[in-house]
Structures are given as structure tokens and as C-alpha cells.
């Protein structure tokens, strides 16, 4: 590891790595998602059939991952924008990293609950 590298290691690198991985993943999902939505031009049955797969337990769990990835990418993107344009941004960038982590957890807790509610009720047989 070379001396004098500004970003290697540390949270500055990891927030960037995660931003890149989530950006690429969401991009590929978007390509697929436009294709599945395009089935509304084929027939209601074709569309409902592919949407039914979104409602299965495993895909439902993947959706939580997708929402978590997009939410991270959005929050970290806003942090990058503030570092670039806000005069206090560079000085507060580390605090902002912790802040977006906190906001992510606070939004994902109820979000995950509502996203998985139906699946959990179905699997474990309480009032569905």
C-alpha cells in the first residue's frame, strides 16, 4: 500500500465501494424492471403472471435488499453532493457518514416491517 494515498482503506473508501456496487446493481435491475413492466402492452394475464413472482417470499426478500440498496445509494449520493457544494460539507463529511447510516436504519426498520408483513403472515399463518 503506497504512502500518501488519500482514500485507500477507511470509511471514505468503503462508502464509495458501496455506492458503486449499489449503483450497478440498481442499474441492472432497472433494465429488467422496464422489460417486465412492458408486459402491460402484451396482455393483463402476462403482466399479472410476472408480477406474481414479485409476491413470492424469496423475491419479496430480494425487494427489501433492492430498497436498502437504493436508499443507501440515494443517501450517500446526497452526502457526496453536500461535500461537493456545501461550504461545510468537507469538514462534516465524517459526521454525515454516520448520519446517513442512522437515517438508513431508521427508515429501513419500519420499511422492512411493511414490506415483509404479508409474506410473514402467510408463512406463519396468523390472520392473513
Amino acid at each position: 500500500m503506497s504512502v500518501g494515498t488519500l482514500y485507500r482503506g477507511g470509511e471514505g473508501m468503503w462508502t464509495w465501494v458501496l455506492h458503486r456496487i449499489t449503483g450497478v446493481s440498481v442499474f441492472f435491475f432497472l433494465l429488467v424492471h422496464v422489460l417486465d413492466t412492458a408486459l402491460v402492452r402484451v396482455s393483463p394475464e402476462a403482466y399479472d403472471l410476472v408480477i406474481a413472482s414479485y409476491k413470492t417470499p424469496i423475491v419479496n426478500l430480494l425487494e427489501v435488499g433492492l430498497v436498502g440498496a437504493v436508499l443507501y445509494h440515494a443517501l450517500n449520493g446526497l452526502r457526496v453532493i453536500l461535500v461537493d457544494f456545501w461550504s461545510k460539507g468537507p469538514r462534516l463529511q465524517r459526521q454525515m457518514t454516520w448520519a446517513i447510516g442512522a437515517v438508513w436504519v431508521v427508515l429501513m426498520l419500519p420499511g422492512t416491517f411493511f414490506m415483509l408483513k404479508h409474506t410473514v403472515e402467510n408463512l406463519f399463518g396468523s390472520a392473513a
Binding site: L6, G9, G23, L30, L35, R41, Y54, K117, H118
Partner: protein, 140 residues
């Protein structure tokens, strides 16, 4: 944290490439700016979309053809989805272009990966736009 870096001032070595000299295009500056402006707009469009479609009121369980037909009967959601499609695709494609530039080392590889990217992006934007504009609730 880097364990081998010595304490003291850190610096980035001066660029070895002379590419800047004589370069006139500001394309990369506008691209950088576009990522930030589209990012801010996408926060509302995409997070709003995910909240409505995946979290509120039963989430994905209530989505079917009739649900889509109900939403796209309103120009508000048509415009929302159209803007989201274009901005997310252009933002994502521009981000992928940066990543290809970073990792593809041979000029040929770089060129063909970008061509593949642009064809896929162009096809997806066109298809999505057509679907929004030609949607027919009485199909089938």
C-alpha cells in the same frame, strides 16, 4: 484505516498524462454536474416510487394490471414515471460509462463495452417511453 501510511502531509502525485493540454470539451464537467442534479431529482422520484409501490398500503401484494391501469389514467403518474425512466436511465448509463472507463484497460474492450451499454440503454428508454405513451387499459 491505512496502517502503513506515515503520519504527515499526504498528496496526490502530479498527473503524468498531458491530456488536458489543448483539450476544449467540457463534456466531463457537464456529466459530473448532471449526476448531481439528476441525483437530487431522483431522490424524490425513486424513493417516492419505492414507498408507494413496495411499502404503503400492502406494497407489492396489491400490484396487478388493474392497479397499473388506475395509475396511468392520471397524467400526473405518467409524467412521474416518464421523468423517472429518463433520468434514472441517463444517470445510471452515465455512471456505468464512468465505471467502464475505470476498469476496461484495452481501448477495444472499452469501446465495445460502451457500445453494448448504449444500445441496451437506448433500447430500454425507447421501450419504456413507448409503453407509457401507448398504454391501453382495455387490451386483451
Amino acid at each position: 484505516m491505512s496502517t502503513t501510511a506515515q503520519p504527515g502531509p499526504v498528496s496526490i502525485p502530479a498527473p503524468r498524462s498531458s491530456q488536458r493540454a489543448g483539450q476544449r470539451s467540457n463534456f466531463e464537467l457537464y456529466s459530473w454536474l448532471f449526476m448531481r442534479i439528476s441525483g437530487v431529482v431522483l431522490v424524490f422520484l425513486v424513493l417516492g416510487h419505492l414507498l408507494i409501490m413496495n411499502v404503503l398500503d400492502g406494497g407489492v401484494q396489491r400490484i396487478n394490471f388493474a392497479f397499473v391501469a388506475g395509475r396511468w389514467s392520471s397524467p400526473f403518474w405518467q409524467v412521474w414515471d416518464l421523468m423517472m425512466l429518463w433520468l434514472a436511465m441517463l444517470h445510471g448509463t452515465n455512471g456505468m460509462r464512468t465505471i467502464i472507463n475505470d476498469y476496461a484497460e484495452r481501448d477495444q474492450t472499452r469501446f465495445w463495452l460502451k457500445m453494448l451499454l448504449y444500445v441496451a440503454a437506448g433500447f430500454t428508454i425507447l421501450l419504456g417511453t413507448l409503453v407509457i405513451f401507448t398504454f391501453d387499459p382495455n387490451i386483451g
